[in-house]
Structure formats: C-alpha cells, structure tokens
Homo-oligomer: 203 residues x 4
Amino acid sequence: MSANRLEAFSDGVLAVAITLLVLDIRVPPIGSPGSLGHELARQWPIYAAYVTSFLTIGIIWINHHAMTNRLEQADHSILVLNLFLLLSIGVLPFATSLMSAYLKHPQGQHLAAAIYSGAFLVMSLMFSALNRQILIKRPHLLKVQLSSGLRRRILARSLVGLVPYVIATALAALSAYLTLAICALVALFYALPMASRDETEVG
Amino acid sequence: MSANRLEAFSDGVLAVAITLLVLDIRVPPIGSPGSLGHELARQWPIYAAYVTSFLTIGIIWINHHAMTNRLEQADHSILVLNLFLLLSIGVLPFATSLMSAYLKHPQGQHLAAAIYSGAFLVMSLMFSALNRQILIKRPHLLKVQLSSGLRRRILARSLVGLVPYVIATALAALSAYLTLAICALVALFYALPMASRDETEVG
Amino acid sequence: MSANRLEAFSDGVLAVAITLLVLDIRVPPIGSPGSLGHELARQWPIYAAYVTSFLTIGIIWINHHAMTNRLEQADHSILVLNLFLLLSIGVLPFATSLMSAYLKHPQGQHLAAAIYSGAFLVMSLMFSALNRQILIKRPHLLKVQLSSGLRRRILARSLVGLVPYVIATALAALSAYLTLAICALVALFYALPMASRDETEVG
Amino acid sequence: MSANRLEAFSDGVLAVAITLLVLDIRVPPIGSPGSLGHELARQWPIYAAYVTSFLTIGIIWINHHAMTNRLEQADHSILVLNLFLLLSIGVLPFATSLMSAYLKHPQGQHLAAAIYSGAFLVMSLMFSALNRQILIKRPHLLKVQLSSGLRRRILARSLVGLVPYVIATALAALSAYLTLAICALVALFYALPMASRDETEVG
C-alpha cells in the first residue's frame, strides 16, 4: 500500500477523534443551582483535560506525518501497527471524559488520572513501536535511505517522549492534579512554536 | 511538511465540527405538553445558532483554503498556529449549544451570547495570527512571492473581520438577541454570492 | 479554488453526516418491558428511516461527484452554493431522528413526515441550484465545454428528481407511512444497479 | 468515476465509524455504588466489543484498499455495491453497543450476540459481493489485467472469511461469550503482523 492512503485514513481518524473531544464539554442544564458563570467555572477540569488532549492529539498528528512522510510503501506489519496506534488514539476521548468527570472527586481521581496519562503512555508506546518497525525493521521501505546511526537517534528521541508519561502515571497515586499538570506541560512544550526547532518528534 | 497534508487534516477537522453541530438540534421528546409544531417552533434559537455557526465555519473553510493555498511548505510554527486555530474551531459546537440553550433564559443569556461571539472572535484572532505568521514572518514559504504591500493588505483585510465580533461580544451585556443577529449577519454577508467578488477573506 | 478541494471538504461532510445517522439507532434500555427481540422489532421506523437516509445521502454523493467532476475551478458563488447544499445535508440526521421518533405517533407523524421529505426536497433544490450555477452561469469553469443543449438536459434531469419529493411532502398530510415509502422507493430506484445505466443524476 | 474518489469517501466513512465506537465506552456516573475501579472492571464487555469492532473495521479498511487499489475506474454498479458495503459498516457502532449492553444479561444476550456477529457476516457478504462485481463482472475496469484463475482465487479467499462469522452467529444460541470470542479471534488473527504474510484478504 502506498504511504499516501495510510496517511489519509490516519488523518481521518485523528481529525474525528480530536473533534469528538468537544462532546465532553457539557452545557450546564437550565435550572442549575448556581449562575451560568459559576456553573461554567466549576467545570474547569473539563476545559483543562480538553485542551491537553486536543494539543496532544494535534502533536501526534504532526509527528505521525513526519514518520509516515519518510515511507515510500507500507507493508502489512506497518498497517497493523498503525491500526493499533489509531486504537490507542481512538480511546482518548473516553480517557479525557473520565479524567474531567473524576478529577475533583476524592474517590476516583487517582485511578482516573492514572488511566488518563496511562492512555497517553500507551499511545506513545504504540507510536514508538511503529517508528521502530519503520526505521529498524523496514528501512528498505523508506523514501530516502538514512544511516543506521541517524535512524537510531530518531527512534531514541521518540522513546524520550515516554518518560514524562511514565512519571505522570506514577504520580497519579499522589495527586491527580499533578498528573494533569504534567500532561498539559508536555503538550504545551511541544506546541510552543520555537523558531529554532525545525522538526519535533514526540511519541 | 507539504501544505497539502496541512489542508487535508484541517479539512477533516472542519468537516467533522460543521457536521457535529446537528447533534444540538433535539427531537422534542414524545409526550411534550405542546403539539410537535409548537415544540419545534419554540426551539428557534437552536436553528438560528445552527445556521449561523454552520455558515461561519463554512466561510472559515473557504478562507482557510485561500490562505493555505498560497503556501508551498508549512514549518513547525505554522503547524502549531494552525492547531490552535483548529482548537478554536473545535469548541464551536459547544459554544453553539450554550447559545441555543440559554438564549431565551433571562439569567444566563448575556454570558452565553458573550461566549458565543467571543468564540468567533478568538477563532478570528487565531486565523489572523496564522495569516500573519505566513504572510509576514514566513513569506519565503509562499508559492508565489507577493510584494510586502500586498501581503500587508491581505492581512489587514483579515483583521477587519475581527471588528464585528468585538462589537457583538461587547453588546452581549445589552442584548443576547442583538449579539446573535450580528453574528448571523456577518455569516450571511460573507456567504451571499456576489458576482462581483472574486475572493473573500474573512477571519 | 481548484475543484479538488471542494470535493475533499464535501466528501468529508457527507461521510460524517452519513455515519452520524447511526447514533439514531438506540439500544433498548436494559429492563424494557418486552423481550429484546420485541423491543428491537418495535423500533422498525428507525431502521426504515436510517436506510432511506443513508442511501439518499450516498446517491447525493455519487451525483455530487458527477457534478463537481465536470468543474476545473470553483469560484465564490459555487463555493457558497455548495455550502448551502452541505447545510441542507447536514440537517438530515435531525430530520431522520424526527421521522423515526414520530412515525408511529398519531399526533406528530404528519408534520414529522412533511419535514423529512421536505428536507430531501430542500436538498434537491440546493443541488439543482448548484448544478444550474455551474452549467448555465459558469460554463467557462467546466473542464470540457458542453453544448448549451446538453447542459440544459443535464439540469432538467436533476430537476425531475424534485418531483417525487414534492409529492411525498404533499402526501404527508394524508399518511406519514406513504411519505416514508416514497422516499425509500426513490432511494432504492437510484441505488439499484442497472447494468444498462452508466450515469445517474438525482438531485 | 475514478477509483480515487471512491477510496476517499470510503476512507471517510470508515474513519468516522471506527472513531464513533468510542462513544459507547461510558464514564461510570459519579455516585455509582462501587468504587471507580470496580465500576470500570464491570463493564469489560464494552472494552471487548470495542477492540473487536475497531480491529475488524481496521482490517476491512486494509482489505478495502487492496480491493479498490486494483481498480482504474468505478462504474455505477460498483459505486452502489460499495454504498451497501458502507451501510453495513455504518451500523457496526449500533451492533457493538447492543452487544456490550446485553452480553451479561441472560434475557437478551443470545439475540444481541447473533446480531453482532450477524452484522460482521453481512459486512463480509457485501465485501465479497463488491469483490465479485469487480473481479468477475467488471475485469475490464482493473488497472492490471489478471488471469481468470487468479481473480477466482482472490474471490475465493474473501469468501473463506465468511465461514467464522457463520459459525459465530450460529453458536450465539449456545453462548454469547463464545460468539464474541470467535469474532475477537478472527480480528486478532488477521491483525497479528506476520512477517511472512505480504497481503491478507479478509472479507
């Protein structure tokens, strides 16, 4: 399969997933006890989780393009690993809903936060697994041949992206707010347009 | 990244966002007190907000194309600014829901209207910021080199598009209906097919 | 704007609208009085309206392609008329929901049926309006120049497609079931693969 | 119609359907009797049905590409059969919801399971019907002419894919869990990246 159609389908799934996130932002029901302003302010975890997830999916899209753009052709193993990556992205609207619903609840907040950053961690693992398949196992499918050293450096960079999500997931037991803050900072770090950075690889 | 894939992903997000708006139009529950005709007529704010948002997103799509069509390549700064523009478009289904739910309620209508036109204002600001990045900061990425004067005129035109949304947001404190009317008129103004107008730039 | 991007965005909206229809098919709540089989059978109007709307949108997609495929370029008037066509398609999931919810209710069934086939009628009108703009007003944007007679015949064929929807809408006052049956028959008529028919134009 | 646009629209519908599946994964309501962990664990049928449906749609996408990639042009019969295939894919989010809602309920579980694997069976039948139309009835539309024997072997392979779904549907009367397990195993079988397999055809 040409890499173009792999990109087109992945773009579609990413575009739908990123846009479905908005269904999580609820309109406060008419007749809520507080004023509309108060009710909207109360649901700030929804906005925080929304923006964090939106930017994270957006960055994955940028990196997904950088990855598939190197490909001339995709074989069955790449298609299937890409499908597992899309699966891990497809559940993000659920993980985001869970996080925003439980962030302020003493009972479930730790588990919800662990699942939230855990979902980003799994997505990053899938991304790295696909990257590894392309760069290490199927280098002959690349458009331009890259040296073995360069291919390993690109893969190592995508593995570095796992570290903050491991930390965020571990710290969920301590504080759900901290977990959300780390995930948000990771998204902002990669999203901030730095003039000096030509290409970013986050997994 | 080639500008083509930037367009494809943006088209996807815009197409999903514009189509999701319909989820806001509710079927009156069986057993409502009034007749079906009465119940459908009662929810006219939903239709007004729906059509306004649909046309506004549609016009943004037309203008987004005109903007990215000038691009040969997109660098990281353009990808990230585009992502923030998509974020501001992604929340429009929520702002539209809020507006249509609260338009007729004396309590929340002013805030809901301010958020509604405020969301269009933020979207226009993001659009202008992206336009500025392309035209002023990254002119070397354009397909065809444009004179500095022409580039500034195109940008100025997109900034003019901000004005009605500033007015509509300010007037929300006075009347939510007025705010909606201004937003609807802006959408209709740009949508009306004028034979004499070849290209329109609204931000 | 090149006709390609007009197609890509329209394809996106049509693909989302056609797939969103499924949200209307409800899983009977656990603990419903009847057996699952009985509950599923009871909601047959949902399936009838779903299949009718799905096929109708699918046929519009086929015809939309036949129409835009003739275009080399799209000007502002074509973009805006296409946007109004997409608007009329975007409300179909709502009209479908309304039809399937009220088909069996003596109170609202006539109005719901009139709105359902009326929505198809409006969509067909928008389709014909766009077709007319392309064929009669902007023939110089066509890829291949067609004779005036041929252009008028193509347009006439798309106008013929309006007739059954006019009849179906008028008959809604008599019987909602009849209206649904006509709309379903129109969809099936155009969908049935006839070996002898090379190209079909339904509006 | 060129096969490209057939692919683009089909990709769109598949991408929306596969991503909509996530709407079925519910966030346990605040104030549920058990802990969040317990509540999340209780809804394991949702995850099982989600992953099974996601992978199945993903594999259909891979095979759909392999099928349409052979096409140079699509005629009306191919477009309409493809539309029926998309219709059968479009209902999968409903079938998945039904399966995950009723899997643990003694009353409805057999029917729900039969509908679930029955939906995959219908989808496979539509896939084979489209494949047959392309390979046997319209071989002149292929990009590269294939021998009659090879075309029949490709079709036979896609028919073999029907067998497990026939068995799973028949066994639903015995055990809904068994039906789900068979569907899940089929998806995993085709998804497992086998280095030795270059191209897989599952219908």
